[in-house]
């Protein structure tokens, strides 16, 4: 008897092969697999949005909630309705208030979180790199701190593009900045290398997982 897991495994196997067919170039099998994935994802997202967002947070309270909650939910309901007007160019201006709210709130939250969650802590961490109290030996602190400080400083200087007039009518950054920027470029190259290695590692792990799935599906693996 064919179990649902077997059917799911067959579909997963076929779809994986179809995706792998992209290695030989763009082909209908790959497109079909992609379309299936997009369609299934969209449907799933719509169902999740309805069942886990719209219905429990908006529709259900409006239907069965108290009057005060209904009145309060009228605001997001109206804003949501206006936001739908963006689908029609003639009425898109009606959705501007909703978009303004989304952009304003989102920007404020993002900036606030970045400042409080990234900028200040990272600056503090860089400064504390030289905290001798956290390290066993001052040499290590100096090495690590100095390396971190050099990487951060040179990388920041790398993005300093202010320059002044030079001989011959050309424009050139100051020599010290040029040197520091060059060191910052090295750190950036290392960072990008690390990122590339991380991307490759992630992709390689995904490939291995698929190959392991194939082995498991055909009984070649465990």
């Amino acid at each position: 008897m064919i179990s649902p897991d077997l059917i799911a495994g067959i579909f997963a196997f076929l779809l994986s092969l179809m995706i792998f067919s992209y290695l030989v170039g763009d082909n209908p099998l790959f497109r079909v697999a992609v379309h299936i994935f997009v369609g299934v994802s969209a449907g799933y997202v719509a169902a999740v949005a309805w069942w886990q967002a719209l219905w429990p947070d908006l529709i259900f309270p409006l239907v069965s909630g108290p009057a005060l909650q209904r009145a309060l939910l009228a605001v997001p309901l109206v804003l949501s309705g206006l936001l739908l007007m963006k689908a029609w160019p003639a009425l898109s201006r009606l959705g501007t208030p909703s978009m303004a709210i989304l952009v304003g709130i989102g920007s404020a939250v993002a900036i606030g979180g970045a400042v409080t969650g990234t900028l200040f802590p990272q600056i503090g961490a860089t400064i504390n790199a030289f905290d001798l109290h956290k390290a066993a030996s001052p040499f290590e602190v100096l090495i690590n701190g100095g390396f971190i400080l050099a990487g951060v400083a040179t990388t920041l200087v790398y993005f300093h593009f202010s320059a002044g007039p030079a001989a011959g009518g050309s424009v050139k950054r100051f020599s010290l900045i040029e040197i520091i920027a060059f060191v910052g470029g090295i750190f950036l190259a290392i960072t990008l290398g690390v990122l590339f290695a991380g991307v490759y590692s992630a992709a390689l792990t995904a490939l291995i997982e698929r190959l392991h799935f194939f082995g498991t599906f055909f009984g070649l693996g465990n």
């Binding site: 999740v48 429990p56 993002a110 979180g113 969650g117 503090g124 990122l195 590692s201 490939l207």
Partner: protein, 848 residues
């Protein structure tokens, strides 16, 4: 050559060397100088002799000869066409030379004068008499005459050929015809047609030639006498004498002289209107005619043509018609209408003046003001003026009623005809003269463009005024532009020369072509076509040409080979990875050992997990995409397995990605339970699922601020906060730890940033993809994140710390290590390949 010559006027036989007729003093020798070396033109009183006009051909200008030739050819074509189509009235086609004139008179169906016919040599088409109600015509003219009257009958009766002078008959019988007659007839024909086509345009005032003017005698036509002369004859007869039986002419005199004889008595017997004495000279030959003309009985009335336009109130005179039918009106006019002929000589057109006498007589004074004054002044040809009588005609002669042409020409009309300028019009005397004469139909039609009013009809026609027509054929011979041209050319032969050929043929004063003038006197200066440019300029030009050539030169498509090589390389690398990694995975090899030491962030994560209290609530956030499920599950399973195994936490799973909720359920229900059946967690008992948290970072912020408000219900719409796993949890800080499994830096940073303040002392552990680990590592170093498990490498350390459980990392580790080596090898080999190819390309360039 004959020794005798017959007088064309009286028929008398004269010696050949006699210039004038011994009987009638008519000129026997032609005046055509060029023909006989006589350059003297005709003088008044001289009778031009018939001359074959074809003899003038050589001395004619080129243009005239071409015109004659064209006319001859066109006439022949028309004759043939006429014969084919059997048309009574062909539409003449004017030659190109007088196309404008022909266009004016194209519609007029007028008979061409015979004299012109003789000139051109082409027989003119006979005018077709259109049947029309004569009653109407006479009413229009103010003269009512019943149909079928004698005059009408006379108009329809063709005079006999014997009524014409013998010389005219001789001309009519001349074998050679002149093309100019037809040529001019075509020019005048349209005017007649036009008048016929527009009878309403003053048709009542204009004398229509066809209906009112009697048909010219066929004999006169055949004899070569112009029809207008015949009309003059007929009009004079009709105006001067009433109709009466004409005696038969049995006198043995020339036929035309008989007619003269018959007309003369008629004029004497019944003068209709007394003609004032005139001092106009009568030609000698005419005087002789008048003096020697015997009294001849008038011809029968049926032979008399009807006067064309009898004056108002003037009854039709059949006698005059009879007389006129026998004697040419112009001859009578010469003898009687001296003043008229004198005036007519003044209004002759310029082109005819050369044919006239050298000296012009002054115009007659005190002309009788008639309706002709209102008529336009008609110019008489010079030849007509040259025929002025040398002596005044006898006063007792019956004046011949003049008949004007149709409508009479107007001043404007005259001006419209360029050949007849007004400078030749002297005074109103000319009008009177015109009233007493009849112009040729072709001439009147050519100069008449508009019909005149009825009141402008010539009264002189009723006054029996005659004109002095001239001898036609001879003057045509003698005058014409040929004579003038010959005289002028002879007079100034040494100064100007007539162009004989080419487009300027017939013109005088043309600069002669000097032999050698068009040829350059010296050899033209040779100019070198070689561009004088310096070497530098040539080099620059070559450089510019090279640049332009490089711009326009097609560039070979090298991209195809690159694409092909990339495709091959991609296929090769893919094949290597699939084959090698597949072999490693399927063979379940464990060649490469797991790392013995985990990175610091991983160790921190393991420590943080180990620090979680037993059975404490832990929030697990699954924020990754399905594409990274393989990596994220491999990276997260060891840590979660260790957590579950060691701390038995109450898990609450959450996802900020719509697909994350499903992946979280997959992680908890299948992967984790499969790998470790002992740690099977049941939903609702050991863990709860919040499901999808909408709003992105805002939702995270909201959830951090108030988890119960942001997610009041679970994924199954149950009261999740009242569930066992979330007992005592109302805030984010109530969770013992927050574990974030994410493949994105942004998602991890969002949770780090938005929950930093609300999380409190709860540690945050991040399990990330290898691609996001490096970017999240600073948060670990800064202390914001308690630990980080990045990718398979970080999971290997956790799995090593977890006692090798669940072992997935081990399954992947050989393949992962081989894959990394392949990548390193590919990168190194690729770099070397590029290095080698670069050196080769550089060497190739250096060698070239």
């Amino acid at each position: 050559m004959a020794d005798t010559i017959k007088c064309p006027v009286c028929g008398e036989v004269n010696p050949a060397d006699v210039e004038f007729c011994q009987n009638c003093q008519s000129r026997l020798q032609p005046l055509t100088g060029p023909l006989k070396g006589e350059d003297a033109p005709l003088t008044p009183g001289q009778i031009p002799t018939k001359k074959t006009t074809s003899e003038l051909e050589p001395i004619l200008p080129q243009w005239l000869r071409e015109a004659r030739q064209q006319a001859r050819q066109s006439a022949e074509d028309e004759e043939s066409k006429k014969e084919d189509e059997q048309k009574t009235t062909p539409i003449p086609r004017a030659p190109d030379l007088l196309a404008g004139l022909a266009s004016q008179n194209e519609a007029e169906d007028e008979e061409t004068p015979d004299w012109l016919t003789n000139i051109t040599g082409v027989p003119a088409p006979r005018k077709k008499v259109e049947p029309e109600d004569a009653q109407v015509k006479f009413v229009e003219l103010g003269h009512e005459e019943p149909a079928g009257s004698p005059s009408e009958q006379a108009s329809t009766t063709k005079p006999e050929q014997g009524n014409m002078p013998s010389w005219m008959a001789g001309q009519a019988a001349a074998p050679e015809k002149d093309e100019l007659a037809d040529w001019f007839a075509r020019a005048s024909a349209p005017a007649a047609d036009e008048s016929a086509e527009h009878p309403s345009d003053g048709g009542t005032a204009r004398v229509e030639p066809a209906p009112t003017q009697p048909e010219p005698p066929p004999a006169a036509l055949d004899s070569g006498v112009a029809d207008w002369l015949k009309n003059l004859d007929a009009n004079a007869a009709s105006a001067s004498a009433p109709a009466r039986p004409a005696p038969a002419s049995g006198i043995e005199t020339p036929d035309w002289l008989k007619n003269l004889d018959t007309s003369a008595p008629a004029a004497e017997q019944k003068p209709v209107q007394p003609e004032p004495p005139s001092n106009i000279e009568v030609p000698d030959w005419l005087k002789s005619l008048e003096t020697n003309a015997p009294v001849i009985e008038q011809p029968p009335a049926q032979n008399i043509p009807l006067a064309e336009t009898p004056a108002a109130g003037t009854p039709p005179s059949h006698d005059a018609t009879e007389t006129g039918s026998e004697v040419p009106g112009w001859i009578k006019g010469l003898g009687r209408e001296s003043a008229a002929s004198q005036a007519s000589s003044e209004v002759l057109p310029d082109w005819m003046k050369p044919a006239g006498p050298p000296s012009q007589t002054p115009p007659a004074a005190n002309p009788e003001p008639t309706a002709e004054e209102a008529l336009p002044s008609t110019e008489l040809p010079d030849w007509l003026s040259s025929l002025k009588p040398a002596e005044p005609p006898p006063a007792e002669e019956t004046p011949v009623a003049p008949i004007l042409g149709p409508g009479g020409p107007s001043t404007e009309e005259t001006s419209s005809a360029p050949a007849f300028t007004e400078d030749s019009i002297s005074s109103s005397d000319a009008d009177e003269v015109f009233g007493s004469m009849q112009l040729p139909d072709w001439l009147t039609s050519a100069t008449t463009g508009q019909p005149a009013a009825e009141e402008n009809l010539p009264r002189a026609a009723a006054k029996d005024e005659s004109i002095a027509p001239a001898e036609l054929p001879s003057w045509v011979q003698a005058m014409r532009p040929v004579e003038a041209a010959v005289q002028e050319s002879s007079a100034a032969a040494g100064e100007t020369a007539v162009e004989s050929s080419g487009p300027l043929a017939g013109l005088q004063g043309v600069l002669p072509a000097i032999p050698g003038a068009a040829v350059p006197s010296s050899r033209p200066k040779s100019h070198s076509i070689k561009l004088n440019a310096t070497d530098e300029q040539q080099a620059q030009a070559a450089l510019l040409e090279k640049i332009l050539g490089a711009e326009t030169a097609p560039v070979p498509m090298k991209a195809s080979s690159v694409v092909t090589s990339q495709r091959v390389l991609r296929w090769a690398l893919s094949a290597i990875l699939l084959i090698v990694l597949g072999g490693v995975v399927f063979s379940q090899t464990q060649i490469f050992p797991l790392p013995s030491l985990a990175p610091n962030e991983t160790n921190s994560a393991i420590a943080a997990v180990n620090a979680i209290p037993q059975g404490a609530p832990v929030l697990a956030v699954f924020d990754y995409q399905p594409s990274t499920v393989g990596e994220m599950e491999a990276a997260g399973l060891p840590l979660m397995d260790q957590l579950i195994l060691l701390r038995h936490p109450r898990l609450a799973i959450l996802s900020t990605s719509p697909t994350g909720a499903a992946l979280a359920e997959r992680f908890m229900s299948s992967a984790l339970s499969t790998l470790n059946a002992q740690n099977s967690y049941q939903r609702g008992e050991q863990y709860v699922d919040f499901g999808y948290l909408p709003g992105g970072l805002t939702g995270v912020y909201a959830f951090a601020q108030s988890p119960t408000a942001a997610m009041p219900l679970g994924a199954d719409r149950s009261a999740i906060w009242q569930s066992a796993p979330l007992q005592g949890v109302t805030h984010l800080s109530d969770f013992a730890a927050v574990i974030v499994l994410t493949d994105s830096v942004d998602s991890g940073r969002t949770w780090i940033e938005q929950t930093a303040l609300e999380r409190g002392s709860a540690p945050m552990i991040i399990v990330s993809s290898a691609q996001a680990g490096p970017m999240l590592l600073p948060y670990v170093d800064s202390g914001q994140v308690a630990g980080l498990v990045s990718g398979l490498y970080g999971a290997a350390g956790v799995e090593q710390a977890n006692g090798g459980l669940p072992g997935r990392v081990r399954h992947y580790w050989d393949a992962y290590s081989v894959g990394l080596l392949i990548a390193v090898a590919a990168i190194i080999l690729g770099g070397l390949w590029n290095l080698v190819t670069g050196f080769q390309a550089r060497r190739t360039q250096e060698s070239r």
